[in-house]
Symmetry: C2
Subunit: 436 residues, 2 copies
C-alpha cells in the first residue's frame, strides 16, 4: 500500500474515521506519518491528531509541509489547539501559533485562561448562536452560512442583546417547526448550564444527572462562552475514575497508560506512599516491643497478630471504598456523616458477632485455650466495629478538609486499623490473662 | 404551593426539567406524587419516571389515573418500558403491559429478549430510517412526519432494501445539503457499529474511543436494530466503574446507592468476602504455630510481623489496582503478560532496594541487633518483588480464566502476600540466626 500509489491511498484515507487514522499513524514512523497526514482530508486529520499525545501533535505539525499544517490547524477545534499550546514548551507554542488562522487567535488565548480541569478548560467554542427575535427561517439561513464546521453540534443557542443565554433550540425543532414562527415562542427556556470556572467533575455530574448530550457553559454574568459535549465528558468520567482507582490502590495517579509509563515514573508514583506507610506502620513494631513481656510469657498470642490485623484491614477497606465511591457519585455528602456512622455501627456490629463466633472456635482450636479464643473473639468484635467506622468516616472528614477522599486507600486504612487492632488485642489479653 | 392552585402548578411543572420533576417526586408522599404526575406534561413525566427506581415507577403508574398512566406510557421510551417490565414481578408487568399502546408491544417484547447488560439491553428504538435512493427533500419530509417524539436523536440512518445499515446522515447535513441531492451521494458510508449481543462495556469502549455521540446497534446480519446514545453510555461507564471500585474494596457490588441500601443488603454484600478471607488468612496462624520454637527463642522477630505483612500488602495492592484499571480501559490485554511481568520485576526491584535499606536501619534500631536488621531487609526485598508481581499477574490470569480482574482486590492480594511474607521471613531468620 505504501508503494507510492498516492491516489489510491488518498481515496482509502478519506473513508477512514479519525480514530482509525490515529491508530494508523501510531503504527508508522515519521516519514510515512507525514505522508499519511498530507493525503488525509484536513478535517479528518485534525480530529485524528487529537487522539495522539501532545508531543506527537506538535512534532507532526512542525515537520509537515507548512500548507498542510495550516490547513489542519484551521480545521482543528480551538479548544484542542488551546490544550496543545498549554501542554508544550512556550517556544514550540509560538511556532504553532504562527500557523493558526488570525481570526482564531483571540479565542484560543481566551480558552487558555481557564484551568485544564475546569468546565472552561474542556469546553468547545464550536456552537452557533441566534437571537430570540429571529424567525425559524432566519435561524436556518444563518445555520446554512456558519454551520459547515464538522464539530458543530446539533443545538442552536439563543442569546439576548448582551449575549446572555436565554434559550435553546435543537436542529430537530428547526426542522419540525413552522419556518415563520418566532424563536422566542418555540425555544426551551429552562436551560441547565454550568459556570466556566466550575470543576470538570461538576460538569460531568450535571450531564449525567440530567442525561444531557450537550451542556452550555456560561460566565458569571450568564453569558454563553462555550459548550461541553457528552463525548468530552465520557473522557472526564474515565479519567477521574482512573485517578480514584489508582489512589485507592495507594499510588499516585499515572497520567499515561501503564504500558507507556516509564520505569522511573512507575517507581516515583509508588515509592512515596510505600515509604510514608512504612514509617507509620513502624509504630506497630514499637507497640509489640512495648508488650514484649506479655508476648514472651504467652507466645501463642503472636499466632493471631496477622489475622486480626488483616480482618480489620479488610473490613475497613470495604467500608472506605463504598463511601469513597458514593462521595464521588454525589450519592452521599458530608451532611450524611451521622447517618453513615449509625449505619456502619449496626452493619459492623452484625459482622462482628458473626466473625467473633467463628474466631472464637478457630483460636481455641489452634491454641488449645478457650481464654485465647475469648481474647481473639472480643478483639475481632471491637476491631471490626472500629475499622468499619474509621473506614467510612475518614473519607468524609477528608472531603470536609478538601482532601481527595480517595487518598484514604486500602493501604492507608490498613495501617490505621493495624495500630488500633494491636493495642486493643494486648489490652484485652492482659485483662483476660491477668498478666501485668 | 400545594394549596390546590392547580393552574399555577401546571405552569410551573411544565417549565421544569425531567430530572427536577423526579427530585420533586422524591420529596413528597404518594397523594402529592400522583397530583404532580397528572399535572406534568406526559413527555416530561415519562422521562422523570426513568430517574426513579423500578418499584416506584410501577407504583406511580399503577396508582395514577388510568388515562394519565396511559399517556405517560405512550410517551416513555420503549427501552425504558422494557427495562421496567423486566425488573418487576411478572404479575405487575402484566398490568403495565395492558396500558401500553398496542403498536409498541411487539418491539418492547423484542427488546426484552436481550440481556440487561448487553448493547441490545441498553439500546433505544427511537431512531429514524431512510432509504439510500431518496433525495434530501424526501428525507426531510419523512422526518417532519415521524420525528415528533422528544427522544429522537439527531441522526438519520440509511438502510437498503433488506434493512441493512449502509449509511448515516446528521440533521446538520440535511440542513446544509442541496434538497435535490441523493442520500446515497452525501451520506457517510464508513459507519462504526456494535452488535446487539455485545457487552455494554464493549459499546462504551467504542463510543469513548471514537468520540461518538450515538452508536447504531446491528444484529448479526448487519440490520439496524437500535441506537445507543452518549447519555446512556455515561451511566454504563459510571455503573461499571462503581462495580470495579466496590470489588476492589473487597465487597460485592451494591446495586443501590449506599444510603438506600438496607442493613441486611450491606451485611450480606460484605460478610461473604470477610469470612472467605478469614478462612484463608487463618493459614497465617498455622504458619506462626509451626515456627513457634523460633518465635519463643527470639521474641523480637514478632515485632516486625505486622510491618512486613503490611508493606507486602501495600505494594501488591498498588500493582493490582494499576493493572485492573488498565485492563478495564483496554490499555493492557492478556497478551502483554510478559511485558508487565518484566516491568514489575524491575520497578519492584528498585522499590525493594530503597525499602530494604530503610528497613535495615529501622529494625536494627528497634531490636538492637544488626542480624535482625539484615533479616528484615532481606525479607522486605523478597516480599516487595513477590507482592508486586503477584499483584500485577493475578488480575491478568483472572481475565484469562474469565474471572472479573477486580476480584483480586486489596484484601485478596493482602491475604496471598501475608502468607508468602511470613514463610520467607522465618526461613531467612532460621538461616541467618542459625536456629533449627
Amino acid at each position: 500500500l505504501e508503494a507510492r500509489n498516492y491516489e489510491a491511498l488518498r481515496d482509502y484515507l478519506s473513508e477512514l474515521h479519525p480514530y482509525e487514522i490515529a491508530s494508523l499513524l501510531e503504527e508508522f514512523e515519521e516519514p510515512e506519518q507525514i505522508t499519511i497526514l498530507s493525503l488525509t482530508p484536513p478535517e479528518t486529520a485534525a480530529e485524528a491528531l487529537e487522539h495522539l499525545d501532545y508531543d506527537d501533535q506538535y512534532r507532526l505539525l512542525d515537520h509537515s509541509d507548512k500548507a498542510v499544517a495550516k490547513a489542519i490547524l484551521a480545521a482543528m477545534g480551538r479548544d484542542a489547539i488551546a490544550d496543545l499550546l498549554m501542554a508544550i514548551h512556550p517556544n514550540k507554542a509560538q511556532q504553532i501559533m504562527a500557523m493558526v488562522p488570525e481570526e482564531d487567535l483571540e479565542s484560543i488565548k481566551y480558552l487558555m485562561t481557564y484551568p485544564e480541569d475546569s468546565a472552561g478548560g474542556i469546553m468547545s467554542l464550536d456552537y452557533i448562536q441566534a437571537r430570540e427575535y429571529w424567525t425559524i427561517e432566519q435561524v436556518i439561513r444563518h445555520f446554512r452560512k456558519v454551520g459547515q464546521k464538522q464539530s458543530i453540534a446539533n443545538y442552536i443557542y439563543i442569546v439576548d442583546a448582551i449575549g446572555k443565554l436565554v434559550g435553546v433550540l435543537s436542529l430537530k425543532e428547526l426542522l419540525l417547526n413552522d419556518p415563520k414562527s418566532l424563536v422566542s415562542d418555540v425555544m426551551h427556556k429552562n436551560i441547565i448550564t454550568v459556570l466556566a470556572t466550575a470543576d470538570q467533575e461538576e460538569a460531568a455530574r450535571i450531564m449525567s444527572q440530567y442525561d444531557l448530550m450537550i451542556l452550555p457553559v456560561v460566565n458569571d454574568q450568564g453569558r454563553l462562552v462555550g459548550v461541553i459535549t457528552a463525548d468530552d465528558i465520557m473522557d472526564v468520567i474515565e479519567e477521574e475514575d482512573t485517578e480514584d482507582i489508582h489512589r485507592l490502590g495507594g499510588s499516585q495517579p499515572l497520567e499515561l497508560p501503564y504500558l507507556e509509563s516509564s520505569l522511573m515514573t512507575l517507581f516515583s508514583k509508588r515509592i512515596g506512599w510505600l515509604v510514608f506507610l512504612f514509617v507509620v506502620q513502624a509504630v506497630t513494631s514499637n507497640i509489640l516491643k512495648y508488650y514484649e513481656n506479655v508476648l514472651s510469657s504467652v507466645v501463642t498470642l503472636a499466632f493471631f497478630i496477622p489475622l486480626l490485623a488483616d480482618v480489620g484491614g479488610n473490613s475497613g477497606t470495604q467500608a472506605s471504598s463504598l463511601i469513597i465511591r458514593a462521595l464521588a457519585l454525589g450519592e452521599v455528602t458530608v451532611k450524611d456523616i451521622a447517618v453513615i456512622l449509625f449505619k456502619e455501627l449496626r452493619v459492623s456490629g452484625l459482622i462482628g458477632i458473626v466473625m467473633g463466633f467463628i474466631g472464637y472456635f478457630f483460636a481455641w482450636a489452634i491454641s488449645g485455650s478457650a481464654t485465647i479464643g475469648m481474647i481473639v473473639a472480643c478483639t475481632l468484635i471491637v476491631v471490626l466495629i472500629m475499622s468499619s467506622t474509621i473506614g467510612a468516616i475518614l473519607p468524609i472528614l477528608g472531603r470536609m478538609c478538601r482532601v481527595d477522599p480517595a487518598v484514604f486507600s486500602a493501604p492507608f486504612i490498613t495501617t490505621v486499623v493495624d495500630i488500633t487492632a494491636l493495642t486493643v488485642y494486648f489490652n484485652i489479653a492482659i485483662r483476660l490473662l491477668n498478666i501485668d
